[in-house]
Amino acid sequence: MLLVGVVGVGSPFGDDNIAQRVITQLQRESQHKKSADKLVFEYFDRPGIHLLEYMKAFDRVHLIDAIVSDSPVGTIHHFDSFDSFQKHKQILSSHDFDIVQVLKLGQILNLLPKALMIHGIEIDPNHELPVKVGQIDKLCKELLMMIERAI
Protein backbone atom coordinates (compact mmCIF):
# COMPACT_ATOMS: atom_id res chain seq x y z
CA MET A 1 0.00 0.00 0.00
CA LEU A 2 1.18 3.50 -0.81
CA LEU A 3 2.24 5.22 2.38
CA VAL A 4 2.21 9.01 2.54
CA GLY A 5 3.98 10.98 5.25
CA VAL A 6 2.71 14.44 6.09
CA VAL A 7 5.43 16.05 8.16
CA GLY A 8 5.42 19.46 9.80
CA VAL A 9 8.56 21.25 10.94
CA GLY A 10 8.85 24.25 13.23
CA SER A 11 9.60 25.37 16.75
CA PRO A 12 6.70 25.79 19.13
CA PHE A 13 7.31 29.55 19.36
CA GLY A 14 5.42 32.28 17.56
CA ASP A 15 4.09 31.52 14.11
CA ASP A 16 6.96 29.12 13.53
CA ASN A 17 4.51 26.67 15.08
CA ILE A 18 2.23 27.05 12.07
CA ALA A 19 3.23 23.61 10.77
CA GLN A 20 2.36 22.03 14.12
CA ARG A 21 -1.06 23.70 14.15
CA VAL A 22 -1.70 22.66 10.57
CA ILE A 23 -0.60 19.06 11.14
CA THR A 24 -2.90 18.75 14.18
CA GLN A 25 -5.86 20.05 12.21
CA LEU A 26 -5.07 18.02 9.08
CA GLN A 27 -4.86 14.85 11.16
CA ARG A 28 -8.30 15.58 12.61
CA GLU A 29 -9.89 16.52 9.29
CA SER A 30 -8.48 13.58 7.37
CA GLN A 31 -9.93 10.95 9.73
CA HIS A 32 -13.09 10.55 7.68
CA LYS A 33 -11.46 10.75 4.28
CA LYS A 34 -10.94 7.74 2.03
CA SER A 35 -7.21 8.30 2.14
CA ALA A 36 -7.04 8.16 5.95
CA ASP A 37 -5.33 4.76 6.13
CA LYS A 38 -2.60 5.90 3.75
CA LEU A 39 -1.67 9.04 5.65
CA VAL A 40 0.78 9.25 8.55
CA PHE A 41 1.13 12.61 10.28
CA GLU A 42 4.20 13.71 12.22
CA TYR A 43 5.64 16.90 13.58
CA PHE A 44 9.24 17.85 14.42
CA ASP A 45 10.29 20.97 16.25
CA ARG A 46 13.43 21.32 14.11
CA PRO A 47 14.56 20.09 10.69
CA GLY A 48 17.38 17.90 12.01
CA ILE A 49 18.94 14.98 10.20
CA HIS A 50 16.42 12.68 11.87
CA LEU A 51 13.99 14.00 9.28
CA LEU A 52 15.86 12.05 6.59
CA GLU A 53 15.73 8.84 8.61
CA TYR A 54 12.04 9.38 9.23
CA MET A 55 11.16 10.00 5.58
CA LYS A 56 12.77 6.73 4.49
CA ALA A 57 9.60 4.85 5.45
CA PHE A 58 7.39 6.64 2.91
CA ASP A 59 6.75 6.52 -0.82
CA ARG A 60 5.60 10.12 -0.82
CA VAL A 61 6.21 12.89 1.70
CA HIS A 62 4.51 16.24 2.08
CA LEU A 63 6.75 18.53 4.08
CA ILE A 64 5.16 21.57 5.68
CA ASP A 65 7.31 24.40 7.00
CA ALA A 66 7.01 28.07 7.83
CA ILE A 67 8.83 30.27 5.34
CA VAL A 68 9.60 33.93 4.89
CA SER A 69 9.46 35.71 1.53
CA ASP A 70 7.58 38.80 0.45
CA SER A 71 4.12 37.26 0.05
CA PRO A 72 1.16 37.98 2.32
CA VAL A 73 1.07 36.06 5.62
CA GLY A 74 -0.80 32.79 5.20
CA THR A 75 0.14 32.26 1.55
CA ILE A 76 1.15 28.68 0.73
CA HIS A 77 3.99 28.10 -1.68
CA HIS A 78 3.86 24.60 -3.19
CA PHE A 79 6.97 22.92 -4.60
CA ASP A 80 6.74 19.55 -6.26
CA SER A 81 10.39 18.64 -5.68
CA PHE A 82 13.43 19.69 -3.69
CA ASP A 83 15.01 21.07 -6.84
CA SER A 84 12.12 23.42 -7.48
CA PHE A 85 12.22 24.51 -3.83
CA GLN A 86 15.93 25.26 -4.09
CA LYS A 87 15.43 27.44 -7.14
CA HIS A 88 13.42 29.92 -5.13
CA LYS A 89 16.38 31.59 -3.50
CA GLN A 90 14.34 34.50 -2.25
CA ILE A 91 12.49 32.19 0.12
CA LEU A 92 14.12 31.62 3.46
CA SER A 93 13.34 28.85 5.86
CA SER A 94 12.67 30.15 9.33
CA HIS A 95 15.39 27.88 10.81
CA ASP A 96 19.13 28.44 11.27
CA PHE A 97 20.20 24.94 10.21
CA ASP A 98 17.56 25.13 7.62
CA ILE A 99 15.54 22.56 5.84
CA VAL A 100 17.42 23.24 2.61
CA GLN A 101 20.65 21.94 4.16
CA VAL A 102 18.96 18.83 5.51
CA LEU A 103 17.27 18.08 2.19
CA LYS A 104 20.49 18.83 0.34
CA LEU A 105 22.22 16.22 2.48
CA GLY A 106 19.38 13.82 1.72
CA GLN A 107 19.78 14.47 -1.99
CA ILE A 108 23.54 13.84 -1.87
CA LEU A 109 22.99 10.60 0.06
CA ASN A 110 20.09 9.57 -2.16
CA LEU A 111 17.79 9.43 0.85
CA LEU A 112 14.95 11.63 -0.31
CA PRO A 113 11.60 9.93 -0.89
CA LYS A 114 10.62 9.17 -4.48
CA ALA A 115 8.02 11.90 -4.33
CA LEU A 116 8.57 14.94 -2.16
CA MET A 117 6.31 17.96 -2.05
CA ILE A 118 7.22 20.96 0.04
CA HIS A 119 4.52 23.34 1.22
CA GLY A 120 5.89 26.58 2.64
CA ILE A 121 3.49 28.70 4.64
CA GLU A 122 4.33 32.39 4.70
CA ILE A 123 4.73 33.86 8.19
CA ASP A 124 5.80 37.20 9.58
CA PRO A 125 9.17 36.59 11.29
CA ASN A 126 8.53 39.54 13.62
CA HIS A 127 5.23 38.00 14.74
CA GLU A 128 3.41 41.29 14.18
CA LEU A 129 0.96 39.72 11.71
CA PRO A 130 0.05 36.30 13.11
CA VAL A 131 -1.71 33.70 10.96
CA LYS A 132 -5.37 33.83 11.98
CA VAL A 133 -7.51 30.82 12.91
CA GLY A 134 -9.71 31.36 9.84
CA GLN A 135 -6.62 31.35 7.65
CA ILE A 136 -5.54 28.02 9.12
CA ASP A 137 -8.88 26.44 8.19
CA LYS A 138 -8.36 27.63 4.64
CA LEU A 139 -4.75 26.45 4.58
CA CYS A 140 -5.76 22.99 5.75
CA LYS A 141 -8.48 22.63 3.12
CA GLU A 142 -5.99 23.61 0.41
CA LEU A 143 -3.32 21.28 1.73
CA LEU A 144 -5.65 18.33 2.18
CA MET A 145 -6.93 18.75 -1.35
CA MET A 146 -3.38 18.73 -2.71
CA ILE A 147 -2.40 15.71 -0.63
CA GLU A 148 -5.43 13.71 -1.79
CA ARG A 149 -4.95 14.75 -5.37
CA ALA A 150 -1.35 13.54 -5.24
CA ILE A 151 -2.49 10.13 -3.97
Binding site: D45, I49, H50, E53, Q101, K104, L105, I108, L109
Partner: protein
Protein backbone atom coordinates in the same frame (compact mmCIF):
# COMPACT_ATOMS: atom_id res chain seq x y z
CA UNK B 1 53.20 34.48 6.82
CA UNK B 2 51.51 37.17 8.91
CA UNK B 3 52.39 40.62 10.11
CA UNK B 4 53.79 40.69 13.61
CA UNK B 5 50.79 42.68 14.89
CA UNK B 6 47.36 41.51 13.86
CA UNK B 7 43.83 41.23 15.10
CA UNK B 8 41.90 38.19 13.93
CA UNK B 9 38.18 38.13 14.45
CA UNK B 10 36.06 35.05 13.96
CA UNK B 11 32.61 36.59 14.26
CA UNK B 12 30.66 33.33 14.18
CA UNK B 13 32.26 29.97 14.75
CA UNK B 14 30.52 27.46 12.56
CA UNK B 15 29.33 23.95 13.41
CA UNK B 16 29.05 24.36 17.18
CA UNK B 17 25.92 24.34 19.30
CA UNK B 18 24.97 27.96 19.96
CA UNK B 19 26.86 31.16 19.25
CA UNK B 20 30.01 32.83 20.55
CA UNK B 21 33.15 34.61 19.42
CA UNK B 22 36.91 34.49 19.64
CA UNK B 23 39.16 37.55 19.82
CA UNK B 24 42.86 36.98 19.21
CA UNK B 25 45.37 39.82 19.46
CA UNK B 26 48.93 39.18 18.30
CA UNK B 27 51.74 41.57 19.22
CA UNK B 28 55.37 41.10 18.12
CA UNK B 29 54.50 37.67 16.78
CA UNK B 30 53.13 36.42 20.11
CA UNK B 31 49.64 36.06 21.53
CA UNK B 32 48.95 39.22 23.50
CA UNK B 33 45.36 38.39 24.31
CA UNK B 34 42.97 35.52 23.54
CA UNK B 35 39.38 35.66 24.69
CA UNK B 36 36.69 33.10 24.14
CA UNK B 37 33.56 35.21 24.35
CA UNK B 38 30.18 33.84 25.16
CA UNK B 39 28.22 36.99 24.61
CA UNK B 40 24.64 35.81 24.71
CA UNK B 41 22.77 37.04 27.74
CA UNK B 42 22.55 34.78 30.78
CA UNK B 43 19.47 32.58 30.63
CA UNK B 44 18.71 32.89 34.32
CA UNK B 45 17.42 29.33 34.69
CA UNK B 46 18.79 29.09 38.22
CA UNK B 47 16.59 32.00 39.26
CA UNK B 48 13.34 31.06 37.64
CA UNK B 49 13.52 27.54 39.08
CA UNK B 50 13.03 29.09 42.51
CA UNK B 51 9.59 28.45 43.93
CA UNK B 52 9.01 25.48 41.60
CA UNK B 53 8.07 21.94 42.55
CA UNK B 54 10.72 19.27 41.97
CA UNK B 55 9.03 17.71 38.96
CA UNK B 56 8.48 21.11 37.37
CA UNK B 57 12.23 21.59 37.69
CA UNK B 58 12.90 18.22 36.04
CA UNK B 59 10.86 19.27 33.00
CA UNK B 60 12.18 22.84 32.97
CA UNK B 61 15.88 21.95 33.05
CA UNK B 62 15.37 19.65 30.03
CA UNK B 63 14.79 22.88 28.08
CA UNK B 64 18.27 24.20 28.90
CA UNK B 65 19.70 22.11 26.09
CA UNK B 66 18.09 20.57 23.03
CA UNK B 67 21.04 18.18 22.67
CA UNK B 68 21.48 16.90 26.23
CA UNK B 69 18.14 17.22 28.03
CA UNK B 70 18.53 13.77 29.63
CA UNK B 71 21.66 14.90 31.45
CA UNK B 72 19.86 17.89 32.94
CA UNK B 73 16.94 15.74 34.00
CA UNK B 74 19.16 13.06 35.51
CA UNK B 75 21.30 15.48 37.53
CA UNK B 76 18.16 17.13 38.89
CA UNK B 77 16.29 13.94 39.84
CA UNK B 78 19.33 12.63 41.72
CA UNK B 79 19.63 15.92 43.60
CA UNK B 80 15.98 15.88 44.69
CA UNK B 81 16.10 12.21 45.60
CA UNK B 82 19.07 12.91 47.86
CA UNK B 83 17.05 15.61 49.64
CA UNK B 84 13.99 13.39 50.05
CA UNK B 85 16.07 10.33 51.04
CA UNK B 86 14.69 8.26 48.14
CA UNK B 87 16.52 5.24 46.82
CA UNK B 88 15.07 4.19 43.47
CA UNK B 89 15.24 0.47 42.76
CA UNK B 90 17.39 -1.34 40.23
CA UNK B 91 14.75 -1.06 37.48
CA UNK B 92 14.82 2.74 37.68
CA UNK B 93 18.60 2.73 37.86
CA UNK B 94 18.87 0.59 34.73
CA UNK B 95 16.31 2.66 32.83
CA UNK B 96 18.24 5.81 33.66
CA UNK B 97 21.37 4.24 32.20
CA UNK B 98 19.38 3.24 29.12
CA UNK B 99 18.06 6.80 28.81
CA UNK B 100 21.61 8.11 29.04
CA UNK B 101 22.82 5.61 26.39
CA UNK B 102 20.30 7.18 24.01
CA UNK B 103 21.53 10.67 24.70
CA UNK B 104 25.21 9.80 24.28
CA UNK B 105 24.46 8.12 20.95
CA UNK B 106 22.32 11.00 19.75
CA UNK B 107 24.70 13.76 20.82
CA UNK B 108 28.00 12.07 19.94
CA UNK B 109 26.51 10.81 16.66
CA UNK B 110 25.77 14.37 15.52
CA UNK B 111 29.09 15.77 16.65
CA UNK B 112 31.28 13.03 15.21
CA UNK B 113 29.64 12.89 11.79
CA UNK B 114 28.16 16.30 11.12
CA UNK B 115 30.52 18.63 12.98
CA UNK B 116 33.93 17.04 13.59
CA UNK B 117 34.47 14.53 10.77
CA UNK B 118 34.71 17.22 8.05
CA UNK B 119 37.62 18.75 10.01
CA UNK B 120 39.54 15.49 10.12
CA UNK B 121 38.84 14.59 6.50
CA UNK B 122 39.52 18.05 5.08
CA UNK B 123 36.05 19.31 4.11
CA UNK B 124 34.32 22.57 4.86
CA UNK B 125 31.04 20.92 5.79
CA UNK B 126 29.23 17.62 6.00
CA UNK B 127 27.52 18.43 2.70
CA UNK B 128 30.79 18.36 0.79
CA UNK B 129 32.10 15.44 2.83
CA UNK B 130 28.95 13.40 2.15
CA UNK B 131 29.71 13.33 -1.60
CA UNK B 132 32.95 11.43 -0.97
CA UNK B 133 32.00 9.58 2.22
CA UNK B 134 28.28 8.84 1.89
CA UNK B 135 28.44 5.63 3.92
CA UNK B 136 30.20 7.35 6.83
CA UNK B 137 27.47 9.99 6.99
CA UNK B 138 24.68 7.43 6.62
CA UNK B 139 26.18 5.37 9.44
CA UNK B 140 26.22 8.44 11.65
CA UNK B 141 22.62 9.23 10.84
CA UNK B 142 21.56 5.68 11.66
CA UNK B 143 23.36 5.66 15.01
CA UNK B 144 21.96 9.08 15.85
CA UNK B 145 18.45 7.87 15.01
CA UNK B 146 18.87 4.80 17.23
CA UNK B 147 19.88 7.07 20.10
CA UNK B 148 16.78 9.16 19.55
CA UNK B 149 14.64 6.01 19.67
CA UNK B 150 15.93 5.27 23.17
CA UNK B 151 15.30 8.84 24.27
CA UNK B 152 11.75 8.64 22.95
CA UNK B 153 11.22 5.23 24.58
CA UNK B 154 11.76 6.65 28.06
CA UNK B 155 11.27 10.36 27.51
CA UNK B 156 8.14 10.00 25.35
CA UNK B 157 9.74 12.34 22.85
CA UNK B 158 13.36 12.74 21.81
CA UNK B 159 13.57 16.51 22.08
CA UNK B 160 12.91 18.01 25.51
CA UNK B 161 11.69 14.67 26.89
CA UNK B 162 9.01 14.59 29.56
CA UNK B 163 9.09 10.97 30.75
CA UNK B 164 11.45 11.25 33.73
CA UNK B 165 10.38 12.29 37.20
CA UNK B 166 11.77 12.30 40.71
CA UNK B 167 11.73 8.65 41.77
CA UNK B 168 11.81 7.15 38.27
CA UNK B 169 9.62 7.53 35.19
CA UNK B 170 5.96 8.45 34.68
CA UNK B 171 5.41 5.19 32.77
CA UNK B 172 7.30 2.00 31.96
CA UNK B 173 7.96 1.22 28.30
CA UNK B 174 6.02 -1.78 27.00
CA UNK B 175 7.76 -5.14 26.54
CA UNK B 176 6.84 -5.01 22.86
CA UNK B 177 8.42 -1.62 22.29
CA UNK B 178 11.60 -2.56 24.15
CA UNK B 179 11.84 -5.78 22.14
CA UNK B 180 11.43 -3.88 18.87
CA UNK B 181 14.21 -1.45 19.75
CA UNK B 182 16.42 -4.25 21.08
CA UNK B 183 16.20 -6.02 17.72
CA UNK B 184 17.12 -2.75 15.92
CA UNK B 185 20.12 -2.34 18.19
CA UNK B 186 21.31 -5.90 17.64
CA UNK B 187 20.91 -5.55 13.89
CA UNK B 188 22.95 -2.32 13.84
CA UNK B 189 25.62 -3.17 16.42
CA UNK B 190 28.25 -3.73 13.75
CA UNK B 191 27.85 -0.08 12.69
CA UNK B 192 29.17 1.04 16.06
CA UNK B 193 32.08 -1.37 15.91
CA UNK B 194 32.94 -0.10 12.42
CA UNK B 195 32.68 3.44 13.69
CA UNK B 196 35.36 2.86 16.34
CA UNK B 197 37.64 1.17 13.78
CA UNK B 198 37.10 4.13 11.43
CA UNK B 199 37.84 6.71 14.17
CA UNK B 200 41.02 4.90 15.18
CA UNK B 201 42.24 5.15 11.59
CA UNK B 202 41.75 8.93 11.22
CA UNK B 203 44.84 11.11 10.66
CA UNK B 204 45.63 12.76 14.01
CA UNK B 205 48.08 15.59 14.69
CA UNK B 206 50.87 14.27 16.91
CA UNK B 207 50.49 16.35 20.05
CA UNK B 208 50.64 15.96 23.79
CA UNK B 209 49.19 18.63 26.01
CA UNK B 210 49.38 19.02 29.75
CA UNK B 211 45.82 18.96 31.07
CA UNK B 212 43.84 17.50 33.95
CA UNK B 213 41.06 15.03 33.16
CA UNK B 214 38.03 15.08 35.47
CA UNK B 215 35.03 12.74 35.47
CA UNK B 216 32.78 10.63 37.60
CA UNK B 217 34.07 7.20 38.56
CA UNK B 218 31.99 4.24 39.65
CA UNK B 219 33.47 1.09 41.22
CA UNK B 220 31.80 -1.33 38.82
CA UNK B 221 30.68 0.42 35.67
CA UNK B 222 31.47 3.09 33.12
CA UNK B 223 30.08 6.26 34.73
CA UNK B 224 26.81 7.84 33.69
CA UNK B 225 24.59 8.69 36.65
CA UNK B 226 26.57 7.85 39.77
CA UNK B 227 30.01 7.85 41.29
CA UNK B 228 32.63 10.02 42.91
CA UNK B 229 34.40 12.88 41.14
CA UNK B 230 37.98 11.99 40.30
CA UNK B 231 40.89 13.47 38.38
CA UNK B 232 44.12 12.06 37.03
CA UNK B 233 45.88 14.38 39.51
CA UNK B 234 44.61 12.63 42.63
CA UNK B 235 41.22 14.22 43.20
CA UNK B 236 38.67 11.80 44.68
CA UNK B 237 35.65 13.51 46.23
CA UNK B 238 31.96 13.00 46.85
CA UNK B 239 29.71 15.11 44.62
CA UNK B 240 28.60 17.31 47.56
CA UNK B 241 32.24 18.35 48.01
CA UNK B 242 32.39 19.87 44.49
CA UNK B 243 32.44 23.49 45.61
CA UNK B 244 35.30 22.89 48.04
CA UNK B 245 37.54 22.14 45.06
CA UNK B 246 35.97 23.73 41.99
CA UNK B 247 35.48 27.49 41.83
CA UNK B 248 33.45 29.41 39.29
CA UNK B 249 34.43 32.95 38.41
CA UNK B 250 33.27 35.68 36.07
CA UNK B 251 35.54 36.96 33.33
CA UNK B 252 34.75 40.43 31.97
CA UNK B 253 34.53 39.36 28.31
CA UNK B 254 32.12 36.43 28.61
CA UNK B 255 28.66 35.90 30.00
CA UNK B 256 29.45 32.31 30.94
CA UNK B 257 31.31 31.56 34.15
CA UNK B 258 34.73 29.88 34.05
CA UNK B 259 35.18 26.95 36.40
CA UNK B 260 38.59 25.93 37.75
CA UNK B 261 39.86 23.06 39.85
CA UNK B 262 42.32 24.29 42.48
CA UNK B 263 42.92 27.35 40.24
CA UNK B 264 43.73 25.24 37.20
CA UNK B 265 41.80 24.61 34.04
CA UNK B 266 40.64 21.04 33.45
CA UNK B 267 38.93 18.84 30.89
CA UNK B 268 35.56 17.15 31.20
CA UNK B 269 33.82 15.07 28.55
CA UNK B 270 34.39 11.88 26.58
CA UNK B 271 38.19 12.00 26.46
CA UNK B 272 38.41 12.68 30.20
CA UNK B 273 35.92 9.86 30.87
CA UNK B 274 37.80 7.34 28.74
CA UNK B 275 41.10 8.46 30.29
CA UNK B 276 39.79 7.85 33.80
CA UNK B 277 37.55 4.84 33.18
CA UNK B 278 39.29 2.82 30.50
CA UNK B 279 39.28 -0.25 32.74
CA UNK B 280 35.46 -0.20 32.80
CA UNK B 281 35.15 -0.56 29.03
CA UNK B 282 34.22 -4.02 27.75
CA UNK B 283 36.79 -6.15 25.97
CA UNK B 284 34.96 -5.81 22.63
CA UNK B 285 36.06 -2.19 22.71
CA UNK B 286 39.47 -2.38 24.36
CA UNK B 287 40.57 -5.09 21.91
CA UNK B 288 39.85 -2.76 19.01
CA UNK B 289 41.79 0.06 20.64
CA UNK B 290 44.74 -2.14 21.48
CA UNK B 291 45.14 -3.10 17.84
CA UNK B 292 45.65 0.58 16.97
CA UNK B 293 48.37 3.16 17.61
CA UNK B 294 46.15 5.10 19.97
CA UNK B 295 46.41 4.48 23.69
CA UNK B 296 44.46 5.71 26.68
CA UNK B 297 44.93 7.67 28.84
CA UNK B 298 45.72 10.13 26.07
CA UNK B 299 46.87 13.75 26.30
CA UNK B 300 46.14 14.32 22.62
CA UNK B 301 42.99 16.44 22.57
CA UNK B 302 42.16 15.32 19.04
CA UNK B 303 41.58 11.81 20.37
CA UNK B 304 38.29 13.19 21.68
CA UNK B 305 36.59 12.02 18.49
CA UNK B 306 37.80 8.48 19.17
CA UNK B 307 36.49 8.74 22.73
CA UNK B 308 33.09 9.80 21.41
CA UNK B 309 32.98 6.84 19.02
CA UNK B 310 34.02 4.51 21.84
CA UNK B 311 31.14 5.84 23.93
CA UNK B 312 28.68 5.31 21.06
CA UNK B 313 29.77 1.68 20.82
CA UNK B 314 29.68 1.35 24.62
CA UNK B 315 26.18 2.83 24.70
CA UNK B 316 24.95 0.30 22.16
CA UNK B 317 26.46 -2.65 24.05
CA UNK B 318 25.12 -1.36 27.37
CA UNK B 319 21.68 -0.66 25.92
CA UNK B 320 21.47 -4.19 24.50
CA UNK B 321 22.43 -5.69 27.90
CA UNK B 322 19.81 -3.61 29.69
CA UNK B 323 17.03 -4.28 27.16
CA UNK B 324 17.75 -8.03 27.09
CA UNK B 325 16.95 -8.22 30.81
CA UNK B 326 13.98 -5.87 30.61
CA UNK B 327 10.88 -6.63 32.66
CA UNK B 328 7.88 -4.53 33.50
CA UNK B 329 8.18 -3.08 37.02
CA UNK B 330 5.44 -3.04 39.64
CA UNK B 331 5.86 0.73 39.75
CA UNK B 332 7.84 2.92 37.36
CA UNK B 333 8.53 5.51 40.06
CA UNK B 334 8.83 5.74 43.82
CA UNK B 335 6.43 8.15 45.42
CA UNK B 336 7.95 11.36 46.67
CA UNK B 337 7.61 12.83 50.16
CA UNK B 338 8.91 16.40 49.93
CA UNK B 339 10.88 17.95 52.75
CA UNK B 340 13.36 20.71 53.38
CA UNK B 341 16.99 20.10 52.63
CA UNK B 342 19.98 20.48 50.38
CA UNK B 343 20.78 17.98 47.63
CA UNK B 344 23.31 17.43 44.90
CA UNK B 345 23.22 15.63 41.58
CA UNK B 346 26.13 15.04 39.26
CA UNK B 347 25.96 12.98 36.09
CA UNK B 348 27.96 12.64 32.90
CA UNK B 349 26.37 14.68 30.13
CA UNK B 350 27.71 13.89 26.64
CA UNK B 351 30.03 16.89 27.04
CA UNK B 352 31.06 16.06 30.60
CA UNK B 353 30.29 16.57 34.24
CA UNK B 354 26.97 18.29 34.91
CA UNK B 355 26.60 19.34 38.54
CA UNK B 356 23.35 20.51 40.17
CA UNK B 357 22.55 21.75 43.65
CA UNK B 358 19.08 22.45 45.00
CA UNK B 359 17.69 23.60 48.32
CA UNK B 360 14.05 23.04 49.15
CA UNK B 361 11.61 24.20 51.81
CA UNK B 362 9.32 21.89 53.77
CA UNK B 363 6.84 21.71 50.88
CA UNK B 364 9.65 20.64 48.57
CA UNK B 365 9.65 23.94 46.67
CA UNK B 366 13.03 25.10 45.40
CA UNK B 367 14.58 27.96 47.38
CA UNK B 368 18.02 27.84 45.75
CA UNK B 369 19.49 26.25 42.65
CA UNK B 370 22.91 26.12 41.06
CA UNK B 371 23.87 24.45 37.79
CA UNK B 372 27.44 24.01 36.55
CA UNK B 373 27.35 22.78 32.93
CA UNK B 374 30.25 21.06 31.15
CA UNK B 375 30.96 23.80 28.62
CA UNK B 376 31.60 26.30 31.43
CA UNK B 377 34.02 23.81 32.91
CA UNK B 378 35.83 23.36 29.60
CA UNK B 379 36.05 27.06 28.70
CA UNK B 380 39.37 27.76 30.40
CA UNK B 381 40.80 24.53 28.92
CA UNK B 382 39.68 25.57 25.43
CA UNK B 383 41.44 28.93 25.83
CA UNK B 384 44.62 27.17 27.03
CA UNK B 385 44.44 24.75 24.11
CA UNK B 386 44.07 27.65 21.66
CA UNK B 387 47.05 29.50 23.15
CA UNK B 388 49.15 26.30 23.12
CA UNK B 389 48.33 25.50 19.51
CA UNK B 390 48.20 28.97 17.95
CA UNK B 391 51.50 30.03 19.57
CA UNK B 392 53.17 27.31 17.52
CA UNK B 393 51.38 28.33 14.32
CA UNK B 394 51.59 32.13 14.43
CA UNK B 395 55.08 32.43 12.87
CA UNK B 396 54.09 30.58 9.71
CA UNK B 397 50.28 30.60 9.47
CA UNK B 398 48.11 33.12 7.66
CA UNK B 399 45.22 34.77 9.46
CA UNK B 400 42.85 32.59 7.48
CA UNK B 401 44.66 29.47 8.67
CA UNK B 402 44.60 30.72 12.26
CA UNK B 403 40.86 31.24 11.98
CA UNK B 404 40.33 27.79 10.51
CA UNK B 405 42.52 26.08 13.11
CA UNK B 406 40.88 27.98 15.96
CA UNK B 407 37.48 26.79 14.86
CA UNK B 408 38.68 23.20 14.60
CA UNK B 409 40.21 23.32 18.07
CA UNK B 410 37.04 24.72 19.56
CA UNK B 411 34.76 22.30 17.71
CA UNK B 412 36.88 19.43 18.99
CA UNK B 413 35.48 20.14 22.48
CA UNK B 414 31.91 19.95 21.15
CA UNK B 415 31.06 23.08 23.09
CA UNK B 416 27.40 23.57 23.78
CA UNK B 417 26.89 27.25 24.26
CA UNK B 418 23.19 26.74 24.60
CA UNK B 419 24.02 25.31 28.01
CA UNK B 420 26.68 27.73 29.10
CA UNK B 421 24.54 30.38 27.55
CA UNK B 422 25.39 30.07 23.83
CA UNK B 423 28.61 30.25 21.34
CA UNK B 424 31.34 31.48 18.19
CA UNK B 425 32.64 34.56 16.47
CA UNK B 426 36.46 35.03 16.21
CA UNK B 427 38.40 38.27 15.99
CA UNK B 428 42.20 38.23 15.59
CA UNK B 429 44.19 41.42 16.16
CA UNK B 430 47.83 41.10 15.07
Amino acid sequence: MNDQNTTINIPVIARVEGEGALDLQIRDGKIYQLQLKIYEPPRLFEKFLIGREPNEVVDAVARICGICPVAYQMSSVHAFESIFAMKPDNWVRQMRRLFYCGEWMESHGIHVHMLAAPDFLGYDSVLTMAKDYPEVVKRGMRLHALGMELMSLLGKRSVHPVGACVGGFYAAPSMREVKRILECFKANLSLAQDLVTWALSLPFPDEKQDFISVSLQHPHEYPMNEGVIVSDHGLNIQIHEFEQHFKESQVPYSNALHCRLHDRSYLVGPLARVNLNYDKLPTQITQLIEKSNIHFPSQNMFHSIVARCIEIYYSMLEAICIMQDYNLPEKAALSMTPKAGIGFGCTEAPRGLLWHQYETDEAGLVTFSKIVPPTSQNQARIEENLIWQLSREIPHATNAQLREHSEKIIRNYDPCISCSTHFLKIKVDR
